[in-house]
Amino acid sequence: MVGAWLFGAFVLLAIFGPLFVGDPLAYVGAPHGSPSAAHWFGTTGQGQDVLAQVVVGTRVSLLLGVLVGVVVVSVGALVGVSAALAGPRGDRALNLLINVFLVIPGLPLAIVLAAFLPKSPWTIAAVLMFTGWAWNARVLRAQAMAIRDRDFVAAAICAGESRLGVLWREVLPQLRALLMAQFIGAIIFAIGAQVGLEYIGVGDISVTTWGTNLYWAANDSALLTGSWWTFVPTGVMIALLSFALVMLNFGVDELANPRLTTGRIFDAWLRTRNASVGPDAATPIVPLVQDGPQEDARP
């Protein structure tokens, strides 16, 4: 739940935050000013407000992350599920495509692509979409195949439903939790990769994003001048957002996978009775308390 709250906070910050801070590129104070009442996170090496840059950067970076996440998961789902439903020959071809894209190192390809293309955040987004879909496709293909082999889907196919209809009505609903988890994972990937690409300068350094914030921090000798405030807040924001998403993913995982919950409840129940499963994993013995309070649901 921590994840959901934190992520919600980020979304609100991205939408409304920029309204409350000033122009992130305006020169408002002395360069490398340490955090103060006027500038809570200090100023950059160019005398810009770090807080404003972090907040405005959130908007672009989050938007880009979500956008790339949606596209990457959609493409992954399309290719993966098509492969599962396409019949052996189509599957072989699509699976090959997936595996090839998986094995070609994504970030170096993204770097080179971004270097060749005109500089803008949208270029970065497009590049990440191109390089990031394969992992999702691979996982979704495996899941879709498992679902395909279940009776009700086989029945639907036998009943003469079109593949597309089967896809829509039978397969996709089963994949909802997985798609959600993948979407979250894809946002993490997109933000991390975007920040990395912009940090090395293949992005548009005139746009305020988390990546360009770090680019400028490095260019303005943040380390040398000890101006930790120029790069720590952005880094922490990136980590917090990713962390929130990871935690959200744990939560989604638990919703999708009730067995995880079962184990937790069991351990907790044992703990309240001062028992636990030993390293030999022998079944624990918790004697019924005859004259104690009625602890069990059943007489």
Binding site: L25, A26, Y27, A30, P31, H32, G45, Q46, G47, K119, G201, D204, I205, S206, W216, A218, N219, D220, S221, L223, L224, T225, G226
Partner: protein, 553 residues
């Protein structure tokens, strides 16, 4: 593989794993106190950081346009050295020079100088060098053959230069030409691409003790002509990829002599070791310009260039980009170096004062010039030159403030320089060409003689500007040796500059120089300005090189 392994085996594997973890942990927590990259405790090796480069290329040919320090002043030497700190010439391989008439210059060559291989250096080497440069135009960096008619060695210690026209500034060009060894270069088939990997020169440091992509070391010339000099054994030049990397090394005490921009220098550098750390950022580094391409785009119009200039808040620029190490530029473009040449009356009216921060005036001028609304010029700048990148950012921001959608693009030096030299840019941050008088400064800004078409490599006048009136003034300057007359011409040139705004001066670049006296001493300072401190100030750095000595305890 799996086989009949038993429990003991498994336990040992576990123990090994734990051992690995401990080992890793140990090296993190306790071990590495002694691991930092401290230079070896060799006395008399000066570690210098003068320019950024990812890796070194073994090329010591001093005649190439991209020849690297210290090839041109260190391995090889010129006949005389101009000391910008003192505004005077120091005789070097020559002992004296005199004008026999308007077109004839006679130079006395120093006797007893030996090349590093023991061969005597004579006037023949000088004549040969100029002959070589004449033969290969690509090596004629100073364009000396544009004013020379002939060079001949009249005796082993005498050289006579005959000019083809009256050209007073030519004196400096001749004096600062690095002189190579005839007995080596005469055998070289193609001197233009000759890398001169094992140079033979007259300079104080000629022996290549070690050369690796990361670092190289120049040992001292065993036959150096100045007795007892150099007093240090070697120069060591590590390759630093950026200002930051170089400064980090400097701050951590790995570098003795540095020529890099240092942010917040007192706090970052001096305070770390006030006894040994010092710097001298003299305002002699020429002018930093925002070059606007005058051969393409809206910046062909002077009014647009003036508008861009009005848009820039130079006070802010100097504070943000330069930590107030310098002062904002004036519309005549002349820095502190030419303090004596400045004409206060050149900037008379408000219209002349286009270095004034005035966004409204800028907008007015832009509207008047009918600049298209979607004009989005890019400002190209060298990545890693953090002060200039910052300056570019401030400028871009300022231009956005008046409705010009400018963006910063950074390139590695080579790529940037190529674009600049070929005129392939909208706006560029660059340096000025300097000389003893404002002559060369203005020549490379406004002379038709220096203007090349777009796409052709040019060593100056990158913005491709030519003003007929200024060109004429410059021609007169060439034949004027008298200071007062030169002053008049200079004033007229200043007025032309103010009127035409060929380039947009931003601020004077300080000569970056910092030192660490814990191992080496004898650096010039503001208090003892026997030479500029900046190591990249060629060939004046020879003065410093030959004055440094190891600290004696």
């Amino acid at each position: 593989m799996p086989g009949g392994s038993h429990a003991g085996h498994q336990r040992r594997r576990g123990v090994r794993l734990v051992g690995l973890l401990i080992a890793v942990g140990w090296s993190l927590v306790a071990g590495p106190g002694c691991l930092a990259d401290k230079p070896p405790a060799r006395s008399g090796v000066v570690t210098v950081s003068h320019q950024q480069s990812a890796t070194w290329v073994r090329n010591f040919n001093p005649l190439m346009p991209n020849s690297r320090w210290p090839a041109a002043a260190g391995v090889y030497e010129p006949m005389m050295v101009f000391n910008t700190a003192k505004d005077s010439w120091t005789p070097w391989l020559a002992t004296a020079a005199r004008w026999v008439d308007d077109l004839t210059l006679e130079v006395d060559i120093r006797d007893g100088v030996l090349f590093s291989d023991g061969t005597p250096f004579t006037a023949a080497d000088v004549a040969f060098t100029f002959g070589l440069v004449k033969q290969h135009k690509a090596l004629d960096q100073r364009a000396v053959w544009s004013f020379l008619a002939s060079v001949e060695a009249t005796s082993p210690t005498g050289v006579r230069f005959v000019f083809s026209k009256r050209y007073a500034p030519g004196f400096g060009d001749l004096m600062e030409q690095p002189i190579v060894a005839k007995h080596i270069y005469a055998k070289v088939k193609d001197p233009v691409s000759f890398a001169d990997a094992t140079p033979v020169g007259t300079g104080p440091f000629t022996e290549i003790n070690a050369f690796r992509p990361q670092v190289y070391e120049l040992g001292k010339n065993p036959h150096y002509w100045q007795p007892g000099k150099p007093m240090v054994d070697a120069l060591r030049l590590p390759a630093f990829v950026s200002n930051d990397a170089a400064n980090l090394a400097l701050v951590m005490g790995e570098v003795d002599w540095s020529g890099n921009f240092i942010p917040a220098v007192d706090r970052v550098f001096v305070n770390r070791d006030p006894e040994h750390h010092g710097y001298w950022f003299a305002e002699g580094g020429g002018m930093v310009f925002l070059y606007a391409n005058t051969a393409r785009g809206p910046t062909q119009k002077a009014s647009v260039r003036k508008a861009l200039s009005h848009a820039v808040n130079r006070e802010l620029l100097v504070e943000v980009a330069m930590y107030n190490y310098t002062s904002p530029a004036r519309a005549h473009g002349l820095s502190e170096t030419y303090a004596a040449w400045r004409d206060p009356s050149a900037i008379a009216g408000d219209a002349d004062n286009w270095t004034r921060f005035d966004p409204d005036a800028a907008k007015r001028l832009l509207a008047g010039a009918a600049v298209p609304a979607d004009w989005s010029p890019s400002i190209i700048v060298v990545s890693g030159w953090s002060d200039w990148v910052r300056a570019a950012q401030v400028v871009a921001r300022s231009l956005q403030g008046v409705g010009v959608n400018a963006r910063v693009e950074t390139y590695e030096f080579g790529a940037w320089f190529e674009r600049v030299q070929k005129g392939d840019f909208d706006l560029a941050i660059g340096w000025s060409v300097e000389g003893p008088t404002p002559y060369s400064f203005y020549k490379w800004l406004m002379s038709a003689e220096t203007r090349k078409p777009l796409g052709e490599t040019s060593s100056g006048n990158w913005h491709r500007f030519a003003d007929p009136a200024a060109s004429k003034l410059l021609e007169q300057f060439q034949v004027t040796t008298e200071r007062a007359a030169q002053g008049e011409l200079s004033n007229a040139l200043q007025r032309r500059f103010v009127a035409t705004a060929p380039a947009i001066p931003l601020f004077a670049n300080p000569l970056w120089g910092a030192y660490n006296t814990s191992r080496i001493e004898g650096f010039p300072t503001a208090a003892d300005p026997y030479a500029p401190l900046a190591p990249h100030k060629m060939p004046a750095c020879l003065l410093t090189m030959t004055s440094l000595k190891p600290v004696t305890k």
